[in-house]
Every structure is written in structure tokens, then in C-alpha cells.
């Protein structure tokens, strides 16, 4: 609701402030100032931390009332995107748009030096700058001073102006910075805290632990009440010499999250051979897994990914996990986290269907000439690649235009003060102020396309069982009356089965995607390949016809770095072996793999150790990230209702693991009862 209020207050500011003689940067700062001065605020008396925006009760109605009581002149938002762009986004899930929020700023600077420290930096740079840079620094000053006054509205006067003296002050400071990022971006998505166990450590060590517990628990309540499910907190990491950086605050955070059992912030455990065993044992926990906590990163693989990307060795160890999967240099980097999204099934449909999608007409005029027939698989593959490149080119260009518009219309002097080197350069973070900048370029359905191509290669070109036209017709008809054909497709090896041939196809597509996307990277912008989907693989799949990997019409795409049909058909080691045939060090935009686990597996120390060894092996083999979901009774009930969707559900029975679907109905009911009762 407060973001809605911020957006309305912006319109009010535009109506009330005379900005005609102001630069864009100063105008934005003054709008920001207006918003902070007029945002409805309150103090939640049940929480020690101050900083609540909106209304304490009846928020929805009161927000609507506020908007009604403060009418603004309607501002027509002219649609500047082309019909081709809109269609690609809405009907094919391919897009290029600058992503708001999703930022992980330099909280360390605020905690250790206070806003006054940053103001000093701004003042110093103003002495040396002229023109637009000087102007931008002025805007930064306005923004920071507005922020200080905003804190004062809550009676918070010492921090964030001054460095925090203890952990409660550090948390208060961090919370206000975090809150106002959302206001300044008009979006509260994925604002991450990053390496809090490092930058708040000194403050933590100066504070009474019991007092810290009370404040941190309130901090967790605040984060969760504001509904940012993708706020990320890192645990550990390594220093430049490879020494582990887990400390007392890392353990403290793990313990408190375990106590409160809250889904946010996402705990990101940075695993390497020196990760403390005790902390590992704390994190491999059934209760945590059941709420999807924590997520695990392979530290060494992530460092390699950042090196491959070109981050100087002096900076790589400073990386932080951002949001649910990105790797960034915290406080120094802008990550356009959904900047480019390309569905790999669109170009495949074009290649298979004479330059047309299976179900709709495409507005975009393609340069690639359709090919009527293919003499061999390689000819088809080349055609697929040509279409893929065209769509990628289009979406990257769309992102570039969107970013250009955003840079002119919605620059953010406040956030820019918190991302280095914007102050030193006197520039906004989007136009080159930040030291690093990445545009995450998502390859949706890459594995679906790979498995579909594998099907075609096998069944058409190698075994000659079917013609390409027959397969395409079957897919267009959602495999109706084609049970035998469909069954054969399903029984073919797929990525995730640990079968070399199928994996090789996925690895090939991955290499080609990386090569194409990487060619766009330059000194200023890194285009970061990723297979991350969050949960958008579901709405994306709804837009597409059936595909030749066996995915039926409207069914979800592969989730993140997982399998095309969303099933782990063999076992976890096979899944992991498949996953590392893709060189994940080139997918520095993030490559999470999701696994489901019967949490009774980790009820014993032996089970925990084996799970730990499984993860560590995967990371050593080159895996970047694993997300674990602990099975619940609800999952089993869903499996009873829709067994086809849960073919890979494995449960533990008396020291033995078996597929839930293989059990008789009465045993399934018994299992559900046992899960419900925690036995």
C-alpha cells in the first residue's frame, strides 16, 4: 500500500511543485523530498523498530480514501513500446524492460559512517565537479537530507545521520534505508540486505545479545510484514585468502530465523570446504526446509563465475547473493534482474513451423527466412539458432530503450548515493554511476527446447520413426490421440536423468546462449545469462502450445535450472550431474536448482551429513545454487489428487526411500497422517 501511496504522492508533487527551472535530477530529488514529507506514517507499537508507512489499520480503505481526498491531474502514460514489443511480452513471454528495485545497496557505508559521512563525500565531490555531475550531486544532497528529515518524523534522530553505535541502532538504520529504497523506486520487490553478518558485525559485538535478539526478532517481523519475499541475507563467504567469514552474527542470524521460522529474508548460506560444521548443522533443519529456508550457494563456483564475468580478483570475494539468485558486488552494482527474458520455445516453434508460432501470428517481422524442410538435424538446429538470435537481439534492444527512458524519467539520486561509485562520478546508477552493472538475460524454457530438439534428433533424424511434420502436428494438437507417440517422447532420456546424450543437447544450447548474450557485454554492462524463472515459468508456460519435450499445452516451463517436465525422474545425483554439464560459471546471472526432500532424511546426524555431502559435491562439480523445499503433508495430499504431477515425489519409509505414487492408497493415507503428526 505504501508504494501505491508513493506513486500517488509523486503525481501530487508533479502537480504542486514548480520544477520548470529544475534539472531532471534535482526535480526527482524534490519529488522524493515531497513524498517523504507527506507520506502518511505511524509507529507500530508492537515493534521496537520505527518506520512504518501508510496506515496502521484499514490500510486498503484508508489508502483509497487518501487518493480520493488528494485528486491529481490524470497523466496519460503514453505507450512508447511498439506493438511487436507488447505482443512478444504479453503473448510469448519475451521482453526487455528495465527492472525496478531488486537492489542491494551499500548498507555498510550507512552503518559505519552514517548519512553524514555520505553527505561529506557528496560535498567533497561537489568541489571538484561541474555541469551535470555537479547538478546530480546537488540532487543527491537534497535526497539525503530528505531522508534524514524523514527519519526524524519517527523520532529517530541519531541514526541514520550518524554511524550506528550498537546493533539496535544498526538495525534501525538498515530498516529505514531499506524502507525508503522501496519508496524511491516506487517498487518494493527484492530489496536485499546482502552481507549483514559482515557489515553489522562490529555493532553486534558491542551489544548485549539478549537485547539484540529482541531487536532482530522485531526486524524479522518488519521484513515479513512488508511482504518482500525475495529479500536476501548472506551468511559467510571467504576473504581474499579463502578463509571463511562466518562469525558470531552469522550464527545468531541463523538461530533467530530458525526460532521465528519466517520465509523472509532468504538466508543464503555460502558453502565451501571451510564452512563451519556447526552452522551447517543448524541450517540443515527440517523446520527450515519446510519453509524453503535456507538457500545454498557454492562459494567457489560463484567466485569462478564472477572471475569469468571479468570482475577483478580484488573484488570477487565481496560478492553477495542478491534477491533469490543473482550474484552481485554489493553496494557497487546495479542488477537489472529481469532485464531481458527470452523464451527458447518461440524460436523453436518458428523453426518448426515455417517461421510462425504454433498458435498465433507474430507481429515481429523476422529477417530469418523460413526453411521448408531440413535435410538433417544440424540444418534445423542452425535455423533455431538464427531465430533465437533474432529474438534475443530484439529483446536486448528493447531493454536498452527501456533503460534509456528510465534513465531520463525516473533517475534515483537517493539509491545512487548508496551505490558506489555514483557519488564519486556524480552520476545516476543507471547511466554509469555504479562501478558494475549487469542485465540478467533469462533463457526461459532452455531445457524444454533442448529436450524437444533431442526428441526430434532421435525420433526423426536418427530412428526415422516419425517425420518432423508428424511431430509438429502432434504438438500443435496437444498430442490428442497420439498416446503412443507421446509415450515414446516421455520415455526418451531428458536433461536431469543423468544421461550424457540428452545433457549434451542442453549444454549445447546453453553454450550458444552464452555466446550470443556475452557478445553484447562491454566495459560498462555485463549481460548475465541465467535460467532463473522464479515462479514465472508457470504463466509463461500457459502462453505456449505443447512442445516436443513432452510438455503439454499450457503446462509450466522448466523451473529455474530444473527439468523440462518439472520432475526429477531418476534421483538427485543424476539431476546434479545433468546440471553441471551446463557450465554454470557462465551463468553468472544465477542458476538455481530446486529439490524437494522428505525432511525425515535429515532427522539424524547421519542423514544431515549425507545431505551436506551431496550439496558439497554438487558445488565442487560446478553447481552454483540449490534451493531445498521440505515436503509437507499438504504436498502428499496434492500428490494423491494429481499423481501425474508428482511422479518424482520420494518419501522415506523406515530407512528406505520410495516413490510415493508406488504406494497403495491406504499406505499413502498412512504416510499423510504421519507427516501431519510429524512422525
Amino acid at each position: 500500500m505504501f508504494v501505491k501511496l508513493a506513486m500517488h504522492l509523486r503525481l501530487m508533487a508533479l502537480g504542486k511543485l514548480d520544477l520548470s527551472s529544475r534539472s531532471v535530477a534535482v526535480s526527482e530529488a524534490m519529488i522524493f523530498q515531497y513524498i517523504l514529507e507527506n507520506m502518511p506514517v505511524y509507529h507500530n507499537q508492537t515493534n521496537r523498530l520505527k518506520g512504518d508507512c501508510g496506515f496502521s489499520s484499514g490500510a486498503r480503505d484508508k489508502t483509497e480514501a487518501f487518493i480520493r481526498d488528494n485528486p491529481v491531474s490524470p497523466r496519460e502514460q503514453e505507450e512508447v513500446r511498439s506493438a511487436e514489443e507488447l505482443q512478444l511480452q504479453n503473448e510469448f513471454f519475451c521482453k526487455g524492460i528495465y527492472t525496478l528495485a531488486h537492489t542491494c545497496v551499500n548498507y555498510e557505508k550507512v552503518v559505519s559512517r552514517g548519512i553524514k559521512g555520505i553527505l561529506d563525500d557528496v560535498a567533497a565531490e561537489k568541489q571538484a565537479k561541474t555541469g551535470t555531475h555537479l547538478d546530480y550531486l546537488t540532487a543527491m544532497e537534497i535526497a539525503l537530507n530528505s531522508f534524514i528529515r524523514f527519519a526524524g518524523r519517527f523520532g529517530v534522530d541519531y541514526v541514520p545521520l550518524n554511524p550506528a553505535r550498537n546493533f539496535p541502532e544498526a538495525l534501525q538504520c538498515i530498516w529505514l534505508v531499506h524502507l525508503v529504497i522501496s519508496i524511491s523506486e516506487y517498487n518494493s520487490a527484492s530489496i536485499s540486505l546482502g552481507r549483514i553478518d559482515q557489515y553489522a558485525y562490529d555493532c553486534f559485538m558491542k551489544s548485549d545479545e539478549k537485547e539484540s535478539e529482541l531487536w532482530f526478532d522485531d526486524f524479522l517481523d518488519k521484513i515479513n510484514s512488508y511482504g518482500d519475499a525475495a529479500c536476501n541475507v548472506n551468511l559467510g563467504g571467504v576473504d581474499p585468502d579463502g578463509n571463511d567469514l562466518c562469525n558470531e552474527l552469522s550464527y545468531f542470524i541463523a538461530r533467530r530465523v530458525k526460532k521465528k521460522l519466517m520465509p523472509s529474508p532468504i538466508l543464503s548460506a555460502r558453502i565451501h570446504s571451510g564452512f563451519p560444521q556447526e552452522l551447517f548443522d543448524t541450517l540443515i533443519d527440517p523446520d527450515l526446509f519446510r519453509i524453503g529456508q535456507p538457500t545454498f550457494y557454492g562459494e567457489k563456483s560463484c567466485l569462478k563465475a564472477l572471475e569469468r564475468r571479468g570482475i577483478p580478483e580484488a573484488d570477487t570475494h565481496k560478492w553477495a547473493a542478491n534477491s533469490c539468485m543473482g550474484l552481485i558486488i554489493q553496494g557497487h552494482e546495479v542488477s537489472d534482474m529481469w532485464g531481458v527474458v527470452v523464451s527458447s520455445l518461440l524460436p523453436l516453434e518458428l523453426a518448426l513451423n515455417n517461421g510462425k508460432p504454433f498458435e498465433k501470428e507474430l507481429f515481429l517481422e523476422l529477417q530469418t527466412q523460413p526453411c521448408g524442410r531440413y535435410d538433417d538435424f544440424e540444418a534445423l538446429y542452425r535455423q533455431f539458432i538464427e531465430y533465437w538470435h533474432e529474438v534475443i537481439d530484439f529483446c536486448i534492444e528493447a531493454n536498452r530503450k527501456s533503460t534509456e527512458r528510465y534513465a531520463k524519467e525516473f533517475i534515483n539520486p537517493y539509491v545512487s548515493t548508496l551505490l558506489d561509485d555514483c557519488v564519486a562520478r556524480g552520476e545516476d546508477r543507471v547511466v554509469g554511476g555504479s562501478r558494475y552493472y549487469n542485465v540478467i538475460t533469462e533463457a526461459f524454457a532452455l531445457v524444454n527446447a533442448a529436450d524437444a530438439l533431442f526428441t526430434i534428433k532421435k525420433m526423426v533424424f536418427e530412428e526415422g520413426k516419425y517425420s518432423l511434420a508428424e511431430l509438429v502436428t502432434a504438438a500443435k494438437n496437444n498430442f490428442a490421440n497420439q498416446e503412443e507417440l507421446y509415450g515414446q517422447i516421455i520415455r526418451l532420456p531428458k536433461y536431469g536423468d543423468g544421461e550424457a546424450e540428452a545433457d549434451a543437447m542442453a549444454a549445447r544450447l546453453a553454450r550458444d546462449f552464452v555466446a550470443k548474450v556475452g557478445a553484447y557485454s562491454n566495459e560498462k554492462i555485463a549481460y548475465a545469462p541465467s535460467c532463473h524463472t522464479l515462479n514465472s515459468h508457470v504463466p509463461a508456460g500457459k502462453l505456449y502450445a505443447a512442445s516436443l519435450d513432452g510438455r503439454t499445452q499450457g503446462a509450466p516451463f522448466a523451473k529455474n535450472g530444473g527439468t523440462s517436465l518439472g520432475l526429477v525422474r531418476k534421483d538427485l545425483t543424476s539431476l546434479f550431474r545433468s546440471a553441471v554439464t551446463i557450465d554454470q560459471s557462465e551463468f553468472f546471472g544465477g542458476q538455481p536448482i530446486d529439490i524437494s526432500l522428505d525432511t525425515r532424511l535429515i532427522d539424524t546426524i547421519g542423514g544431515k551429513r549425507k545431505f551436506q555431502q551431496l550439496l558439497q559435491t554438487y558445488f565442487e562439480m560446478g553447481g552454483l545454487q540449490v534451493q531445498v523445499n521440505g515436503l509437507t503433508a499438504e504436498d502428499l495430499k496434492k500428490a494423491v489428487d494429481a499423481p501425474d504431477k508428482y511422479d518424482d515425489l520420494i518419501v522415506r519409509i523406515g530407512g528406505y526411500s520410495t516413490y510415493f505414487n508406488h504406494l497403495t492408497d491406504d499406505i499413502k493415507i498412512e504416510m499423510i497422517n504421519r507427516f501431519s503428526s510429524g512422525t
Binding site: E484, G487, I490, T573, R609, L614, S657
Partner: protein, 305 residues
Amino acid sequence: MSKKVAGLVFDIKKFAIHDGPGIRTTVFMKGCPLRCLWCHNPESISPEREISLVEHKCIGCGWCFENCPNHAHINVDGKRVFDRDKCLRCGVCSGHCYAGALEVVGTEMMVSEVIDEVMKDKPFYDNSGGGMTLSGGEPMLQFEFTRELLAAAKEQGLHCCLDTCGFTRFERYQELFDNVDIFLYDLKETDPDLHLEYTGVPLQPILDNLKKLSDAGADIWLRCPVVPGLNDRPEHFAEIGRIAELYSGVKQVTIHPYHPLGSSKSKNIGQDYVLKDKPFADKSDIGNWVEKVSANTAKPVSSEG
């Protein structure tokens, strides 16, 4: 060592974490000399291949009705019937069952094929102290295959466990002794009469082999299935503890509480399951069983599940 020897395997399970130390791959072989009432792998008992039918997966396409060479699959008043007496176990039906309802249980595999499959997970073994476990059924029933598998695994530097019921000629254990790191040794019932009743074979040869293995310096993990109402007797637990304490080769004891998983599998292969109405063991009972065994041995005693 011959990698050209073949055997009948019904499953190769990766990420096996209950079959020895670390992360393992367990190779399950067909055939068992025992007939345990509580067997949770009934598909392992017969040394022949079998056809498993998972009813809920059948989509009624009718292909098997039309193509079974011996008309074992028939449609009776709209209901599918699988006449197993007529089944030749040729696998024609399962080869075409795209719904996955029909599957052949038992595939002939060469030693080299099995080892290639097992070796795929070597990084996981290396990181966890895991390796290969041979199980079943009873691996010693396919003795040559078991011997060659172990030899081939050792050539690859794999840690090897042998999950065995102990009912075989000791000379066979001697032949492959050097290639087995841990014997996962089943001790199902310590009363001789009840052992015969519950498993179909006498107890004494199993105890004799246990002693001989221990005397020969083997590392042995005792695995003791416990079935409420059958062998959950105080004297049985006491005897397990005594035996564990008696033999220096026994390094630990694991209680395996009964579970009705075998009931589902029996149904799939068209067999009756004697204990089909018996529920899972109660968690609180399991703790008591462990305590009772522990009271008679200093060796570690734990439970699975």
C-alpha cells in the same frame, strides 16, 4: 576378472543413503533363498524376471490386449485383467506401455554395464566415503555376478558393501572377502523355530557364517528387521545384543522397523502379502527396541525410521 559376466538386476538406486556409509549406489539383484513374511522387496524374491503392473497408471489404451503373444492381458467386461499364469514375461507389453503401468522387473546386465552406471556418481562417493552396495534379494544367489562386480568395483577403487542374509556356503564369502569392505548382515530372528517359520530357512547356518566372518576379520553391520507381533520380543532384542557383543567383527547394529511398503509391491507383481494389514511400527516402540538391544551390547545401536 571378467566384465562379460551378466546378472539379473531389478534396480540400480543412486543417492542410496541407508545402505552403508556415505552416499552410495545400490545394485539390487533378483533372487533370494529366504521367504520373509515382511519382505519389503517382494519383487526380489523370484530369480526370474517378472512383470509389474501399477494399476493406477494404466490409461486403458488396450495395446497390451491386442499385442500380448499369449493373451495374458484381457478385457473382461470393461475391466482389465492380467492373467499371470499365461504371462511369458517376454516384456512385449512393457516395452510399449507408454503410460509406464507395465514394467519388467529384472534386466540382464553385464558387469561392465553395472560398473559404468555405478561410476557415474563417483564424485559423490569420494566426498562422502560412499561407494557401491550390492543388495537384492540376495546377491550371493547370483554368486559369479556378485564376485565379478565386486572385483570390477575394486579395480575402480570403490568402497563396497554387501547386503546379505547370510544363508549361503561360507566358502563363497571367502572367495570375495577381500573385495567387501562392510558386510551388511541381516539378523531377522534369533529363535530357531520362529526363524524357520518367518523366513523359510534355518537360523544356524546364518549364525555360523556370522561367526566365521567375524573370526576372519570382516567388518559387519548387523541389520535387524523388527515386526510388531512377530519378533518384537524382549528375548529377541537381548539376543541381538548378546550376539553383537560376542562377535568383534560386528561394529554396529541397526534396527529396521517394519513398514508395509512390501504390500504395494506385492500387489504390483500379483502376489499376496501376508502382513498386508499390519501398520507401520510406532515411533515410541522403536526407541524402546533400540534401548533393549543396547542394554546387552556396547556396540552402537540405532534405528532406520
